[in-house]
């Protein structure tokens, strides 16, 4: 099993969610995060003073998928979340040791 961690622009969450459910991914976790990449944020203006805002709001979508589906799902997320402008986000893939369904106690890929 692999964890696919996708950090995307907040308004892309619905699109990514739709694509994932259409691919049959059973569940996901969405959280609100802040961060920056190479561009180190943008400038804002308040009462005539300029600010560098480098912790920009993003959405993080975590899905755990079986190994054989990883590349398919990563491609789908990338396509759904891309706008072509700076700040589209990143996807990280990491291995997962185990998964447990709390209600029944099932473990392994059946728990997904």
């Amino acid at each position: 099993m692999k964890r696919i961690e996708a950090i995307v622009k907040p308004f892309k969450v619905d699109e990514v969610k739709e694509v994932l459910t259409s691919l049959g991914v059973a569940g996901m976790t969405v959280s609100e995060v802040r961060g920056f990449g190479r561009q180190k944020g943008h400038t804002e203006m308040y009462r005539g003073a300029e600010y560098r805002v480098d912790l920009i709001p993003k959405a993080k979508i975590d899905v755990i998928v079986p190994d054989e589906r990883v590349s398919e799902i990563v491609t789908a997320i990338t396509a759904a979340a891309r706008t072509g402008t700076i700040g589209d986000g990143k996807i990280f893939v990491t291995p997962v040791d185990d998964a447990v369904r709390i209600r029944t106690g099932e473990t392994g890929p059946q728990a997904l």
Partner: protein
């Protein structure tokens, strides 16, 4: 001691307690305790009774002058001099002998009802103030801002009842009033307005409350609650009523200025302030300035000249809605100051002037802020229409709508420059209270000397009296009014700032004015009030931009 009882340590039934009580009645040591307890309670009750009877008795002086005598003094004033008629809401009409209005007149009922409606509107401004201040501060100090507004209101009410109204609006001498403490021995109606005395009291209380709330505006985020209580007593109890007496008291030296036997008789006219640009707003603004200077900026605050900027507001929705509620309440503040619905043309004109000045102020502040930054700043726009409202508050009765627009526009630009000035001087004023109320209050007061259009004189319970109209520089009236305004404004501003600096320094010396570093960084809400404003949400330290910072990197 009763060892058996002590060692039990279980809950006793009532009958067991009764047994114990009877045992104690017999015990000499317990009898001594009981006797001491009862004596102490009796002494306490006796002291309270003594205060309740003794303090009013001490405060009570000779009964106040009868209304008739006041008329005689005023109708003796030389005609054609606007001086003898401080056309503020409290005074009778100028050259014409004041009408002998009695409580039974329908006119009085109408005027009293009008005054009360206006008083309620002005009190409604408190909601506006809480929302404005809460919106512009950070979420970690929101509860503190709300509490300070509420408690300032409650304190002001009691103080204004006890001696505030007496100092400000009763007869005494040119500097202070000496009658009506605890509202004793007051007449049925106030002076020659014909309005019920207590209705005037609540109307003026609402004004005093406004001044008191303005002062907390520039001191947000780092003021200890006890310090706030202490300085509020100084402001609502002493600075505002005493200095206000000079301009609005029936014998205030600035109100009666410019005529024989009074202050500066050669000036030719008294100091005019229809609804309080100076008395309420300049006083409030400059006390806020003094407080802000003595306190110093919030921790972590970097100023524009050092590469930082103002700390971000946490809720612009509340802030700007609050500003609009203030605008709404201002319709009681200005038109209500006629204390007369019978002067229908007057209240209509005042309401229209108020509106136009606000409109102009908002637009011009927005433009002034846009030019250097290329952004349409919401906070400057709000400060702008508030500045227009503050500025029109003094001259609203005497200017034409055109004049109102022009002076409102100037106020809008002035408030933008004022905010920039304070930022340059490294004074942390989170909501712009000092530029809006202090600086534009002065501008509004002076603008009367320029824009008084020469058609309107004094208001009155049975209608306007325009026999001695005020004319400003732009309307052929020369420098007379302007000079009187400059003198009055300068005296009041200086006196306010000096006394406020002394007050703030004294409170600071008690150690209660500024909260400690740890408390300020964690936020006043949890430190002073035990709860966060939004307990369900994490307070985001990163909501403040890097230049402003959360303060945690301060050494």
């Amino acid at each position: 001691m009763d060892q058996a009882v002590r060692s039990k340590r279980k809950k006793l039934t009532y009958s067991e307690k009764l047994v114990r009580f009877r045992a104690r009645l017999r015990d000499p040591e317990w009898r001594r305790y009981g006797g001491l307890l009862l004596t102490g309670k009796a002494v306490g009750i006796g002291l309270v009774l003594l205060l309740m009877v003794g303090v009013p008795a001490l405060m009570r002086v000779a009964p106040s002058v009868v209304v008739g005598t006041v008329h005689a003094q005023d109708s003796g004033a030389p005609a054609g001099e606007a001086a003898a008629a401080p056309a503020a809401e409290a005074a009778p009409a100028s050259a014409a002998p004041a009408p002998d209005v009695k409580m039974t007149d329908t006119v009085n009922a109408v005027n009293t009802a009008w005054t009360l409606v206006a008083a309620f509107l002005v009190f409604g401004m408190q909601v506006g103030f809480t929302m404005l201040e809460a919106g512009f501060c950070r979420s970690r100090e929101t509860v503190n801002v709300l509490m300070e507004c509420v408690v300032d209101t409650c304190l002001c009410g009691i103080l204004f009842y006890a001696w505030g109204f007496a100092f400000m609006f009763s007869h005494g001498n040119g500097l202070i009033g000496t009658h009506w403490f605890f509202l004793q021995d007051a007449p049925a109606t106030y002076e020659a307005t014909g309005v019920a005395f207590l209705a005037v009291w609540i109307f003026q209380f609402a004004f005093a409350d406004t001044c008191s709330t303005i002062t907390s505006g520039a001191m947000i985020g780092r003021t200890g609650f006890v310090g706030d209580l202490l300085y509020s007593v100084g402001v609502s109890g002493f600075i505002y009523p005493i200095i206000g007496h000079w301009a609005w008291g029936p014998d205030g030296f600035l109100a009666t200025m410019g005529s024989d036997g009074n202050f500066l008789p050669s000036i030719g006219t008294g100091f005019h302030d229809f609804a309080g640009s100076t008395v309420v707003h300049t006083i409030g603004g400059f006390i806020a300035l003094a407080g802000s200077i003595v306190l110093g900026p919030r921790l972590g605050r970097k100023f524009k000249r050092d590469g930082g900027g103002p700390m971000l507001p946490h809720d612009l929705t509340i802030a700007i809605s609050g500003g609009l509620i203030l605008w709404f309440g201002w319709y009681g503040f200005n038109p209500g100051s006629t204390l007369s619905a019978i002067d229908a043309e007057g209240i209509g004109r005042v309401a229209a002037n108020t509106t136009l000045a606000a409109c102009a102020g908002g637009l011009f502040a927005m433009l002034a802020a846009y030019i250097p930054s290329k952004k349409w700043d919401a906070s400057f726009t709000t400060n702008g229409f508030l500045a227009g409202l503050v500025a029109i508050t003094c001259p609203c009765y005497w200017v034409s709508p055109t004049g109102a627009i022009i002076l409102g526009a100037v106020a809008g630009v002035l408030v933008y420059l004022g905010v920039e000035l304070l930022e340059y001087l490294r004074i942390d004023d989170p909501i712009g209270a000092v530029p809006v109320h202090g600086f534009c209050g002065i501008w509004g007061t002076l603008s009367l000397g320029l824009f008084a259009c020469g058609k309107y004189g004094a208001t009155g319970p049975t209608g306007a009296d325009n026999s001695a109209p005020l004319a400003g520089l732009f309307y052929g009236g020369g420098m007379t009014v302007l000079i009187a305004q400059i003198i009055g404004s300068a005296i009041i501003t200086t006196a306010t700032f000096v006394s406020a600096m002394i007050l703030m320094k004294v409170v600071n010396a008690t150690g209660t004015l500024r909260i400690d570093r740890e408390g300020e960084l964690n936020g006043l809400d949890v430190t002073e009030h035990g709860i966060a404003a939004y307990p369900e949400y994490v307070i985001a330290g990163w909501a403040t931009p890097p230049g402003a910072g959360s303060g945690s990197n301060e050494k």
